[in-house]
């Protein structure tokens, strides 16, 4: 192993251990930060600053990619042009918003009028698409699992929303829906989460022990 690799591995292990110990001994009895807590906070501050800078880097990269598409007149260059115009405009409005109330108003309206309705509309389209897919499900896959999947979805829908003129269906809303949502669904999801947690723990230990060195940049 080269000196560079040893150096970076040592730094990674030390930082990981400091942050981990900061969880356990970061606070004194009076609630104030201990030395380990302050070390942990300093390291986390660096991480937050780097993460914020990473967002800026991502925005810059997005800008360059679409500018190249426009320069080379690739397919969808018009959409790239629209993206760049919107990005630059929003950026300028955001920079001026603290100092210009008019700019702040335009900045908020651009979000409320453009971004939020667009994303909400996509969610509404998702509702229609899911409905159509559920209709077509048994045509393409007429089997037991498809039937179970479809029946479960119908039970959750009927148990979540009140029936017109009827209100809550007593047995379905109080027993069936909570049971399906809390027992089978949560059990499956928890199993997945436990697996993810064990994998995360193992990965963290491997990094702490130096077995994995994802920070080498390769």
């Amino acid at each position: 192993m080269k000196i560079k690799g040893v150096f970076s591995t040592a730094i990674a292990i030390a930082v990981g251990l400091l942050v981990l110990v900061g969880y356990l001994f970061g606070y004194k009895a009076d609630g104030s930060l201990s030395l380990l807590g302050k070390l942990q906070s300093s390291l986390l501050y660096i991480a937050v600053a780097l993460a914020g800078f990473a967002v800026l880097v991502g925005i810059g990269n997005l800008l360059l990619v679409h500018m190249n598409k426009i320069r080379h007149k690739q397919k969808g260059a018009a959409y790239s042009f629209i993206l760049i115009v919107a990005l630059v405009t929003t950026l300028l409005l955001g920079l001026l918003a603290p100092y210009q109330p008019k700019a702040a108003s335009i900045f908020n309206d651009s979000f409320n009028v453009v971004q939020l309705p667009v994303e909400a509309s996509l969610m509404a389209l998702l509702a229609i698409t899911l409905t159509y897919a559920s209709i077509r499900l048994l045509r393409r896959h007429l089997n037991l699992l498809s039937v179970i999947f479809l029946i479960t979805a119908l039970l959750i829908l009927l148990g979540t929303a009140p029936w017109p003129f009827l209100g809550d269906v007593p047995f379905l809303s109080n027993i069936i829906r909570p049971f399906v949502a809390q027992i089978p669904a949560t059990a499956g999801a928890r199993g997945i989460l436990l697996g993810v947690a064990l994998g995360t723990l193992t990965t963290g230990l491997r990094i702490l022990f130096g077995a994995d060195r994802p920070y080498r940049g390769k």
Binding site: Y23, G26, G31, L33, G37, Q40, S41, L44, Y45, A47, V48, A49, A51, G52, V55, A97, P98, N108, F111, N112, Q115, L116, E119, A120, L122, M123, A127, I128, T131, Y132, S134, I135, R136, L137, L138, R139, R140, L142, L150, A153, L154, L157, L158, T160, A161, P162, W163, P164, F165, L166, G167, D168, N174, A181, Q182, A185, T186, A189, R190, L193
Partner: protein, 772 residues
């Protein structure tokens, strides 16, 4: 005459027998010399007339073969004009009539060699002779001979390469110098006579004597043929012999060799000089090798002197000029296709490297390459001395040119793998019958065999043809484009529009018409009122931290769900602080405060009643950092003003100083991260989570475990809290639309699923392989 004693078994035999009657060993060839023959002939002594064919008969088989090979190897394309073939080319004819005396016995000797050695057969077959025009006489002779009488053909070929006589019909020997026919014949011609005796004195196993040796000896004029007599008349004076100095310690013949050695040195760059000096050290015996070479050189010298042979070929620049009958030979040419050559020949027809060249150098022995017209006279004198000591020849010391005439396979086989002992095959028929291991049986002949011919027509059985047809049908079916049903696409698109229209109407009509089709809910909330109770008990002057971590797409559900609780806080005048780990969170917070019913009516002002801290980068690390030191993590507001010195957050040092921590999220993972990173740092500050319905199954365990003090999930819980607070808001507005829309969706799914199942089942029944 007394009985002859067999040299092998020692028993006496009658003198007329040629072979021992007891052991079968040959007697006469060994003992057939007369006492006069055994006596060395002195210089100047009158030679005894003797037919050379007599000696040729007693030569060992190898020597006869060598002679044949020598004459066979030149392979000069001959014609009837250039090389007159005597009509008596058959074995039984007198060869002395048409050929010089020294070659006359070859034919007979060859014809009598019934047992030809194996390498001799190889020589005959490997001879790289170009197809030459054969005269009618020769064709007749060949026809008479038959294929098996190969040795007779050797004699014919030997005659064919006999030096061409001059235009006047004189042979090459006839063109000898005049002095040769007189009593004062040159020494080299007089020495021809004792050569005969010398031949007789040779041991039976000695192969050193050849026909060339006889050519060096003197022949009496009466025994000479006519062409030789004419040669005596027209021959020029013999070439002067270079003076020899310092000959006291060496014999005469060696002294005569010195000038020649000097000449050889001039020719071969010193190597012959070394050989000469070494031979000079030999006491009065000439190396048999050197004697043979000299004898051959003498013959060739005579040919050149009398113009019998044309100019040396240009290809002899390294080894000396070649006679004309060797000029047409390409030493690198492959053997003719008709011969079963035992050597590898590459694609270009060249023999493999130097071995091949060595093999084909057999066509012209090395002594022929050493011939120099200027040295003929000197070598004639050497021949005299050479004839005196033939008995010193040893059977194992073959002359180089004899060694070079070994079978081609023995020359080339050095590079080949030696055949194993058990792999040798004993020949059963032909001239090589009884010999073992003569011809390579395996590896050498393998590549030369003609490859078997296979039919290019494919043999396919009926079953294979049927399978091939199946495969072809499958491949064709895979690559065949399927027709796209336009009508079906139109139908699907219509169904999609119809479903969208029904859902829009189901949601829109109750919303915009204000029709309440759904009754009030009687169910309890997810946390059974814990969140509402908690919020009701919060102090009014302590700020509450609210996290906006949901996407704009789900803002409709989250705003409606959070409005009753945030409105309750606003009614109390509780200062608020907003933060988000989503870039759109700060904007959503501003929107929530300005547009949401039950909230916007309170006219909270940013910077005074609430503070928007903005976007917190770093995900879980940012959450942890913010939980540890919120003032350092988010020092300013979105307006760029200090967040913690003035306004509602004045005096707040940590998260535990907030009255409550409320999280609005639609993602269970985000909620889990906040619980894991910030929950331990909250102290006594309660954490309440307002989430989307889709995240409830994964977040509820945190509420059940007590990490969350309150949990509000979806529109149903919001409706419950609105009803309990008796303040209808967005939940009330959406409630009927939510009820009708969900019911329509359920009906569409049920009806559509049944219809799809039936149509799909019918489609599969019509065409089992088709996918619906």
């Amino acid at each position: 005459m007394a009985d002859l004693r067999c040299q092998m078994c020692g028993k006496p035999n009658p003198p007329e027998l040629e072979e021992c009657q007891f052991c079968g060993a040959r007697i006469k060839p060994v003992l057939a010399s007369t006492p006069a023959d055994s006596r060395p002939i002195e210089a100047g002594e009158e030679p005894i007339s003797k037919d050379a064919s007599e000696f040729e008969k007693v030569k060992p088989a190898e020597e006869g073969s060598i002679s044949s090979a020598e004459n066979e190897s030149p392979a000069e394309p001959s014609s009837d004009e250039s090389l007159p073939l005597p009509s008596a080319a058959t074995p039984g004819s007198d060869s002395s009539k048409g050929v010089p005396d020294e070659l006359s016995g070859l034919g007979e000797a060859a014809s009598e060699d019934g047992e030809a050695p194996d390498w001799l057969a190889g020589l005959r077959s490997d001879k790289p002779v170009e197809p030459e025009p054969v005269s009618s006489v020769e064709e007749e002779a060949t026809a008479e001979l038959g294929d098996e009488d190969w040795i007779a053909r050797l004699g014919d070929e030997m005659k064919a390469v006999t030096p061409e006589p001059p235009a006047g019909g004189r042979s090459a020997v006839e063109a000898l110098p005049e002095s040769a026919s007189e009593g004062g014949l040159p020494d080299r011609l007089q020495s021809l006579q004792p050569s005969e005796s010398g031949v007789q004195e040779l041991p039976a196993a000695s192969p050193a004597i050849s026909a060339e040796r006889e050519t060096g000896g003197p022949v009496p004029a009466e025994n000479l043929p006519d062409w030789l007599n004419q040669l005596e008349e027209t021959a020029a004076e013999p070439e002067p012999i270079p003076p020899v100095g310092g000959a006291e310690s060496v014999p005469d013949w060696l002294s005569n060799l010195r000038p020649e050695s000097g000449t050889l040195a001039a020719l071969f760059g010193g190597e012959p000089q070394a050989e000469s000096s070494s031979s000079g050290e030999t006491p009065d015996q000439l190396s048999p090798l050197q004697a043979d070479v000299n004898a051959a050189e003498a013959v060739e010298k005579h040919k050149d002197d009398f113009g019998v042979v044309s100019e040396p070929a240009a290809q002899t620049q390294e080894t000396g000029p070649l006679p004309e009958w060797l000029a047409g030979i390409d030493r690198t040419a492959p053997p003719s296709g008709g011969t079963p050559a035992l050597i590898d020949i590459d694609d270009e027809g060249n023999p493999p490297g130097e071995k091949g060249e060595t093999a084909f150098s057999l066509e012209a022995p090395d002594w022929l390459f050493k011939l120099d017209p200027e040295q003929g006279a000197e070598k004639g004198t050497e021949k005299e001395e050479d004839q005196l000591v033939p008995g010193d020849l040893e059977s194992a010391e073959l002359p180089s040119w004899v060694q070079a005439m070994r079978p081609l396979e023995s020359v080339v086989a050095e590079a080949m793998t030696a055949p194993q002992e058990d792999a040798r095959v004993t020949e059963q028929s032909g001239p090589l019958a009884g010999l073992r291991g003569v011809l390579p049986s395996g590896p050498g002949l393998g590549p030369l065999r003609k490859p078997p011919a296979y039919s290019v027509k494919l043999r396919v059985s009926d079953g294979q043809q049927r399978y091939a047809a199946y495969l072809d049908r499958l491949v064709t079916g895979e690559t065949k484009p399927r027709a796209v049903g336009t009508k079906r696409l139109t139908s699907n698109r219509l169904w999609r529009w119809l479903i969208a229209l029904l859902l829009i109407l189901a949601v829109g009509v109750p919303l915009f018409r204000g029709v309440q089709v759904a009754p009030e809910t009687s169910s309890l909330s997810s946390d059974k009122g814990a969140a509402f109770t908690l919020i009701s008990g919060l102090p009014a002057d302590t700020p509450v931290l609210i996290v906006f971590d949901y996407d704009p797409a789900l803002s409709g559900e989250l705003e409606a769900t959070a409005a009753p609780f945030i409105g309750k806080l606003l009614r109390k005048g509780t200062p608020l602080a907003f933060i988000s780990t989503s870039p759109t969170g700060p904007a959503l917070a501003e929107r929530f405060m300005q547009t949401t019913p039950l909230v916007s009516s309170h006219q909270y002002r940013r910077g005074e009643q609430y503070v928007n801290l903005g976007y917190l980068a770093g995900g879980p690390a940012g959450m942890l950092y913010f939980a540890g030191d919120p003032t350092a993590a988010m020092p300013t507001t979105v307006d760029g003003k200090p967040a913690w010195e003035t306004g509602p957050l004045q005096g707040i040092q940590g998260l535990s100083n907030f009255a409550a921590f409320i999280l609005l999220t639609d993602n269970a993972d985000t909620g889990r991260n906040w619980i894991e990173q910030v929950g331990p740092r909250l102290g006594n500050t309660p954490m309440i989570m307002i989430i989307s319905t889709q995240a409830e199954p994964l977040v509820r365990p945190y509420f059940d475990s007590g990490q969350l003090k309150g949990l509000v999930s979806g529109l149903a819980d919001a409706k419950i809290y609105e009803q309990s607070d008796n303040r209808p808001g967005l939940a009330h507005l959406y409630w009927s639309s939510f009820s009708v829309g969900t019911l329509v969706a359920v009906l569409l799914i049920v009806i559509g699923a049944i219809w799809s199942a039936v149509t799909g089942w019918r489609a599969r029944r019509r065409n089992p392989g088709e996918e619906a």
